[in-house]
């Protein structure tokens, strides 16, 4: 079991290294930030001064190793734009993103899971089809469109909600709704298919034959078994907590990490882009690791199987 955990940890570490390297090279190759930051008006002297200041005149391998060394010491560099530590800028924006994403997770689960259970329970009826149609629609409409439609309706037409920024609790309504329409759709579909598969399991028939009510069979026997695939999806979602709101944050001008990312890409502020991507990637990797490890705890079969195999 220790070896199994060690293997997972090793894999997570290696993924992280790949992530760091890919982001670094992709950004460095994509464009010379000097011209992009200083603009086409800048003279050759200005460009040379900028390159020197940010080590851009050094060879790529040198910059890569310097960066890697920095990461190992938790030093992710200074922002090209402000000269502040990049991590500072990213962490400053994190609370606003979490304040949006955590309620979104709760709302999505509260809508998605019951809808999935209901659809599974009503399998092959009109109710099932309507629920699934709604989930597909929610999933298929891009967030920016949902956001703008909501804004048009609630802000421009009705004048009930402020379209952008955080001015009060009501500011949370439209962004959360925007993201929850898509996320709830995903949760509903996964819950439904996991449940349908399990509903065909002999234990359901046995339970019913033993005189339990349908609902009791559903909640006591089927749902816990459906938890595993759901956990995987939820893990993926947790991984996207930091980076998941990029589009929504931009539409609603939300002061979070997603908007910082777009802003920094636009400004070619590579260190901030790298730091944000690194943070998003690490959360994703950690969330997956946590899901892997929690299988051990939730699923007795996995735990036992390991022990059996070791014996």
């Amino acid at each position: 079991m220790t070896r199994w955990i060690a293997a997972r940890l090793g894999r997570a570490g290696f993924t992280l290294l790949l992530l760091i390297s890919f982001t670094f090279f992709a950004l460095m190759i994509s464009a010379d930030p000097a011209l992009q930051i200083l603009g086409p008006d800048a003279g050759p002297e200005a460009i040379a001064a900028f390159r020197e200041k940010w080590n851009l005149d050094k060879p790529l391998w040198y910059r890569y190793l310097t960066y890697l060394n920095g990461v190992l010491h938790l030093d992710l560099g200074l922002s090209y734009r402000t000269g502040e530590p990049a991590i500072h800028m990213v962490l400053d924006r994190l609370p606003a993103t979490l304040a949006l994403m955590i309620p979104t997770a709760i709302v999505s689960l509260l809508i998605g899971v019951p809808a999935g259970i209901y659809a599974a329970y009503m399998h092959r009826t009109t109710a099932d089809r309507v629920t699934m149609l709604l989930s597909v629609v929610g999933l298929a409409i891009p967030n920016f469109l949902v956001g703008i439609l909501l804004m048009y309706f609630f802000s421009v037409r009705l004048g009930w909600l402020t379209p952008s920024g955080i001015v009060g609790w009501s500011s949370f309504i439209m962004p959360i709704l925007t993201m929850a329409t898509a996320e709830a759709g995903i949760f509903a579909r996964f819950t439904r298919s996991a449940m349908i598969e399990l509903l065909q399991h002999p234990m359901v028939e046995t339970g019913m034959a033993s005189g339990f009510s349908r609902w009791k069979v559903l909640f006591v026997h089927v749902l816990p078994n459906a938890a595993l695939p759901l956990l995987t999806v939820a893990g993926l979602f947790m991984g996207s907590l930091i980076g998941g709101a990029v589009i929504t944050e931009n539409v609603f001008s939300w002061p979070g990490t997603g908007r910082l990312l777009v802003e920094s890409v636009g400004a070619r502020d590579f260190t901030v882009v790298q730091t944000t991507v690194l943070l998003i990637g690490s959360t994703m990797i950690l969330a997956n690791l946590a899901v892997d490890l929690s299988y051990l705890w939730i699923d007795p079969r996995l735990r036992d199987a390991r022990q059996v195999a070791r014996r």
Binding site: L74, T82, S155, S253
Partner: protein, 529 residues
């Protein structure tokens, strides 16, 4: 080996989760900016630094007019006339030297009174040649103020500035960006130069209250402002709203009084709504093309001349800008004042002559590559496509090559033939526009996009140093003639700046410049009319 520095990982209290949620929960929900004397402006970006010496950008210039003043003021509402600012009088003692008599009784936002020491500090190497920001101030200020030799304080209210070389626009230099005056005392109150750049102290109609990078800039009316036109609002907030559709929704719902960076295609939508109108138009910037004449095809001036004759500029203005911009009279603007050559016509459109010029040059359909980005400039790709079809009309074979970055556009290979550019008139003078970009010190000449001919160099020398207005006008006219026959580029139209305005609340009268006037001459509240 470096030790771990965990300081950057500590969350600052103003950003903690409760800091976002508590006020949000306590407020009653809808907080539209309907407060009588406040002004809420949605911008696509706020500057990375408010110090004029650290950032030269449209987002910074928009705020500068409210925070600072220059020694001499350009009156954009009166053809760019130079009027007294923080200096009441000036005297060009020699082609290299100017003396300013300073205005008495001017107060900075920190209460400090304005005098010659502040001017000396503003133009000192200590301020203009330092590290900081993304590139340090030298990079930003050198093209404008790098020519200063020294600044002498003659008495507390008199300053004499000497340039290294004779300078025909010596007064303009102190009337325009980045010559905004900062308080010397303000630096002492700040932790460092870098820190001072985050909250610089000026003499403008508004003072800075709050500035959060990427979020907002908040200003407040300055009670002791010396000028005649006072701050129109008690409080002004520039809020970042990156999406244009969100800015429009915010305008229409009453959240914002003014929105900036509205594209020409959104004007109609704003004008049709009952409570909003568009404002703005051309600014002091010419959108143009640059021709690389160092290759076998474009080294023939008659081909470049033919390319210019084939462009129907008015058609671009009418179709892409709904007629809300202008075609310039060559490389000049009417805010040039005395240097504006009003008798010069707009560039000629004559496809017939273009065809015959191409025939005479023996042009045989060789491929000409036009490098463009998608949307660095407003309507960039659309303009490129229209130009391509106009050139095809006269028999030119132009291929569009869409690039993603300036580095790709500028890459010096054989197929760099045509690319896009803009020509801001940093000074209302050909020195600040035409000769800055097409002269020998401009980036393009330095990067071998073209070579500046000896005759041009000779004339340019007179243009930059002569104090004689009539001589300068004659020389500039000659230069434009030479350019027309052997063009290194094409002037297309003036770039634009459009706003959306909540007309239930205010009336906005923007100036033809990137500076945004929020004094009583630029903004009027409807209920105070």
């Amino acid at each position: 080996m470096r030790l771990l520095n965990l300081e950057p990982y500590m969350l600052r209290p103003q950003y903690s989760l409760p800091a976002y949620i508590l006020p949000a929960l306590m407020s009653v929900g809808i907080a539209f900016a309907a407060n009588a004397n406040e002004l809420s402006i949605a911008v696509q970006k706020v500057p990375d630094s408010l110090d004029p010496a650290l950032e030269n950008s449209n987002v910074n210039q928009r705020i500068m007019w409210s925070l600072f003043n220059t020694l001499v003021t350009v009156d954009y509402r009166d053809g760019g006339k130079m009027v007294p600012g923080l200096a009441t009088d000036w005297d060009v003692i020699s082609p290299r030297t100017v003396e300013f008599k300073l205005r008495e009784g001017v107060t900075f936002h920190n209460g400090d009174s304005f005098d010659a020491e502040d001017v000396a500090y503003t133009f000192s190497p200590e301020r203009l040649q330092r590290e900081g920001g993304s590139s340090g101030t030298t990079v930003v200020t050198k093209p404008f103020l790098g020519g200063i030799e020294n600044v002498e304080v003659m008495d507390p209210m008199t300053v004499r500035i000497t340039m290294k070389e004779p300078d025909a626009i010596i007064v303009q230099r102190f009337a325009n960006y980045p010559s905004q005056i900062l308080s010397k005392e303000g630096l002492k109150e700040a932790d460092s130069q870098e820190d001072y750049s985050k909250h610089p102290i000026g003499t403008g109609p508004y003072r800075l209250v709050d500035y959060e990078l990427g979020e907002h800039v908040t200003l407040e009316a300055f009670g002791n402002y010396w000028g005649e036109e006072k701050a129109a609002a008690e409080k002004v907030t520039f809020t970042v709203v990156p999406e244009v559709s969100t800015r429009i929704a915010g305008l229409r719902s009453g959240q914002f009084d003014i929105i900036t960076e509205v594209g020409p295609d959104s004007l109609e939508q704003i004008n049709k709504a009952p409570n909003t109108q568009s404002a703005g138009g051309p600014v002091e910037n010419i959108r143009g093309l640059i021709y690389d004449s160092t290759n076998d095809i474009l080294d023939d001036p008659s081909i470049r001349q033919a390319m210019n004759l084939a462009i129907d500029r008015q058609a671009i203005v009418d179709s892409l800008y709904h007629g809300r911009t202008e075609v310039p009279h060559g490389w000049q603007l009417d805010i040039f004042g005395d240097m504006f050559l009003a008798d010069r016509s707009t560039p000629e459109y004559d496809p017939e002559r273009a065809r015959s010029l191409l025939d005479e040059a023996g042009y045989d359909g060789e491929e000409i590559v036009y490098r463009t980005q998608n949307a660095y400039y407003t309507n960039e790709i659309e303009t490129a496509q229209i130009l391509q079809s106009m050139w095809t009309e006269v028999g030119l074979n132009v291929k569009l090559d869409v690039k993603e970055t300036w580095a790709q556009v500028m890459e010096d290979t054989e197929d760099r033939h045509i690319f896009n550019g803009s020509f801001t008139a940093y000074y209302p003078d050909p020195m600040g526009q035409f000769w800055r970009r097409f002269g020998p010190n401009g980036g393009w000449a330095q990067e071998d996009v073209f070579e500046v001919e000896p005759e041009m160099l000779r004339l340019g020398d007179t243009l930059s140093t002569s104090p004689d207005l009539e001589e300068r006008r004659r020389v500039f006219s000659e230069m434009l003639d030479i350019f027309q026959a052997d063009p290194d580029g094409a002037a297309l139209h003036l770039l634009t700046q459009f706003f959306g305005v909540n007309t239930d609340r205010i009336e906005l009268d923007p100036m033809p410049t990137l500076y945004l006037d929020l004094t009583t001459s630029g903004v009027r509240y409807q209920d105070q009319k």
